[in-house]
């Protein structure tokens, strides 16, 4: 009985915690279905509950509006292409780089790695103007390239992969060499499978970062660009003094879907990757 009460209390506390964490999400969903006139109302049900008043309170039209009038389908596709391509390419480049820095010997390796690491200390905003100037010179304004390529130089990802690969015993690579495996085969058969948890983590973090990247995607696209992404689209609902809350929330519901789906899919790897260092003796 005592144990049961203990569990009950623990679950009750966890439920309260979960509710607090999920409340903004719940609010977003309710708001997305509300008629505009009830946008900032705290109520989630009409004052006098009837079918008619419920119809007056809630609507599906916010979702149809954002797809048909605001072109969110296109924004969604652009965001997806940018986030997916960036994530795949970042993971590939960082894994290759991390492998080279962890297991290969070449002149100036440590100096080069430390130099890369030092760049993390420079605030991202400092890169904004020079990077934009280069993109502009290359004629990449209004292209996917402009949104993807400047972010592939991910030093955090390189550091993450290098540290992880560093832990893989050298004996594995030596025996693969003795068996006559090429570099490509070692990379494919040893490095990638053994780094899967951290690859998933890096993929997820990069995807999340690119999916919600607002400023860069705003800057490298002219306002009439066909490559505008979801964060830029969402910002259009917020004016100087007023915000179209119901439309903003409906669009936000769309925008959290891939992230939620991806996290559910990869959460095992993600948690494994994040806690790898914590449980090591």
């Amino acid at each position: 009985m005592k144990r049961f009460l203990k569990y009950l209390l623990a679950y009750a506390l966890l439920c309260v915690g979960a509710f607090i964490v999920l409340y903004p999400l719940i609010w977003m969903i309710f708001e997305a279905f509300k008629e505009e006139k009830y946008a900032l109302s705290i109520a989630i049900l009409p004052n006098h509950f009837t079918l008619e008043s419920l119809k007056d309170f809630y609507t599906f039209s916010n979702f149809s509006k954002i797809v048909n009038e605001f072109n969110f389908g296109k924004y969604f596709l652009n965001s997806f292409i940018v986030a997916l391509t960036s994530s795949i390419m970042t993971v590939l480049i960082c894994t290759m780089g991390g492998y080279a820095f962890a297991k290969k010997n070449f002149v100036g390796k440590n100096f080069l790695f430390n130099t890369f690491l030092a760049t993390v200390m420079i605030p991202g905003m400092m890169f904004m103007v020079p990077q934009f100037a280069i993109i502009n010179k290359l004629g990449w304004i209004n292209t996917y390239k402009a949104m993807i390529i400047p972010h592939l130089a991910n030093v955090f990802g390189l550091f993450l992969m290098r540290q992880y690969i560093h832990q893989i015993p050298d004996a594995l690579f030596e025996s693969a060499n003795i068996d006559g495996a090429s570099e490509y085969q070692i990379f494919k058969k040893i490095v990638i499978p053994l780094t899967m948890p951290v690859v998933a983590t890096l993929f997820l973090l990069t995807f999340l970062g690119q999916w919600s990247n607002f400023l860069w995607q705003l800057i490298v696209n002219t306002p009439d660009s066909p490559y505008l992404t979801i964060p830029v689209g969402l910002a259009l609902f917020k004016g100087q003094h007023s915000t179209q809350w119901t439309l903003l929330m409906a669009a936000s519901c769309f925008s959290v879907l891939p992230i939620a789906f991806l996290f559910i899919l990869a959460q095992r790897f993600f948690i494994e990757g994040m806690t790898q260092g914590a449980v090591k003796g």
Partner: protein, 427 residues
């Protein structure tokens, strides 16, 4: 399986190389257009704006390239564009950005185009936001024309007034009356010792405190010397009064505290009976079915004064046709444009002459704002104004929370602002 994987890798690499070689892109200035205009309106405003601009296109036989950018990112986008010479010809900018772009030599001074004549035509405080004083040349220059102007006034819930036996006649005209009415409106309906409804909900930030400072006759910064004047007796009295609404008279809900119901949401949800807000709240109140009224800011020792908000239209140095661009700015403040714009969107005209005519057209609620706009003061025109606001907000927060004496908080604000201004002017 292995071979398939390898083939996929090869195909991906080839595709990537091809993709990189494809020339891309676009430019800010679309071919075949005379002027590129970046605006930051809402979707509804943008539709009407484009419609109204057609007259200018027809009259001048040109094509405009009008583009909508989000208000939220326009400052960074413009600053990047200016640094890389990819700015549009004209842009609608936040008032606070005018001095930064002006002193950074990104926008064109319009004095030589004859913009001075608009000083008598445009709402004083709105026009004033375009005048920037250059410490080096010791000269004032005019850098734009306002396209939209706003101020705040007092919103009140008529039902709450009726509940405590008050009527429209009792709406406070002075801050003293405000306190008296506020005491009646702050109610504990169920007598449980907890207040169920507060008379007032207020914000803490400097912008929202200007109606207090202005109506007490306090000045924030001397535009020409850059000296912060917040430690003056008038400013101290204004902030002390604001603090007293919360801590002494207990008629303010503490809506400025983190985690509290913010004023707008509290007003719309029957929690607060009065708030200060701008005309943008009218639509929300009407949609919610609330019975509400609007009155001028209660008068302090200096009278009833509000603050000024809105935006300016500026011409960039890289503009392709500056004369045409200036003509376009004039078109935007013209009677034709302003009447249509303000009646379609229920907004305050920037053109003073139109106020009597539009008061009738826009109804009694908007009429209050049209009255109040003539008693407004502009913010100091200092580049990176946000830094000053952050510093003062922190000090005012400490004063409201009782961590600092009001006089001490404003003295500290002055010290911090003077340091920031000195640093900005040295740069």
């Amino acid at each position: 399986m292995d071979k398939i994987f390898d083939a996929i890798v090869v195909v991906l690499i080839v595709l990537m190389v091809i993709w990189l070689l494809i020339p891309g892109g676009g430019t800010v200035n679309k071919a075949g257009t005379a002027l590129t205009v970046w605006v930051t309106y809402s979707e509804a405003e943008f539709k009407i704006y484009k419609e109204l601009c057609k007259k200018f296109e027809e009259d001048n036989k040109i094509k405009l390239n009008i583009q909508l950018i989000p208000w939220g990112g326009h400052q960074n986008k413009l600053r990047t564009a200016c640094n890389t010479k990819t700015a549009p010809d004209i842009a609608r900018i936040d008032l606070a950005l005018t001095p930064l772009l002006a002193l950074g030599k990104a926008i064109e001074p319009l004095d030589s185009y004859g913009v001075g004549k608009y000083k008598k035509i445009i709402v004083d405080a709105a026009f004033d936001t375009n005048i920037v004083y250059n410490m080096r040349t010791k000269k004032n220059n005019i850098y734009g024309l306002p396209d939209k102007t706003d101020c705040v006034a007092l919103f009140y819930n008529k039902k709450h007034f009726r509940d405590v036996g008050l009527s429209d006649k009792d709406v406070p005209k002075t801050w003293e009356e405000f306190v008296e009415v506020g005491k009646k409106l702050t109610v504990d309906n169920d007598k449980d010792g907890l207040i169920d409804r507060y008379a007032f909900g207020m914000n803490n930030s400097l912008w929202w405190t200007f109606p207090f400072f202005n109506s007490f006759g306090a000045v924030f910064i001397n535009d020409q010397t850059g000296e912060c004047l917040l430690n003056s007796p008038k400013a101290i009295a204004a902030l002390q009064f604001k603090k007293d609404l919360f801590s002494k008279y207990k008629i303010e809900a503490g809506a400025w505290q983190s985690g509290a119901v913010e004023p707008k949401a509290g007003f719309l949800n029957d929690k607060y009976s009065m708030i200060l807000c701008g005309p943008w709240l009218i639509a929300d109140c009407e949609n919610s079915g609330m019975d509400f009224g609007i009155a001028r800011i209660p008068a302090g020792p200096a009278g009833s004064f509000s603050n000024i908000g809105g935006s300016n239209m500026v011409i960039f140095k890289t503009c392709r046709d500056k004369k045409l661009a200036y003509k376009f700015l004039e078109f935007m403040v013209s009677d034709y444009f302003q009447v249509k714009w303000c009646t379609s969107l229920k907004q305050i005209p920037v053109n003073k002459k139109l106020i009597p005519e539009l008061k009738k057209k826009l109804g009694p609620r908007m009429a209050v704002f049209l009255d109040q706009i003539l008693s407004t003061r502009s913010r100091p025109k200092i580049p990176r104004y946000g830094m000053l606001e952050d510093a003062v907000n922190q000090e005012m927060g400490a004063a409201l929370q009782g961590q600092k004496d009001v006089k001490q908080a404003l003295t500290d604000s002055k010290i911090r602002c003077d340091e920031i201004v000195k640093q900005i002017f040295e740069e």
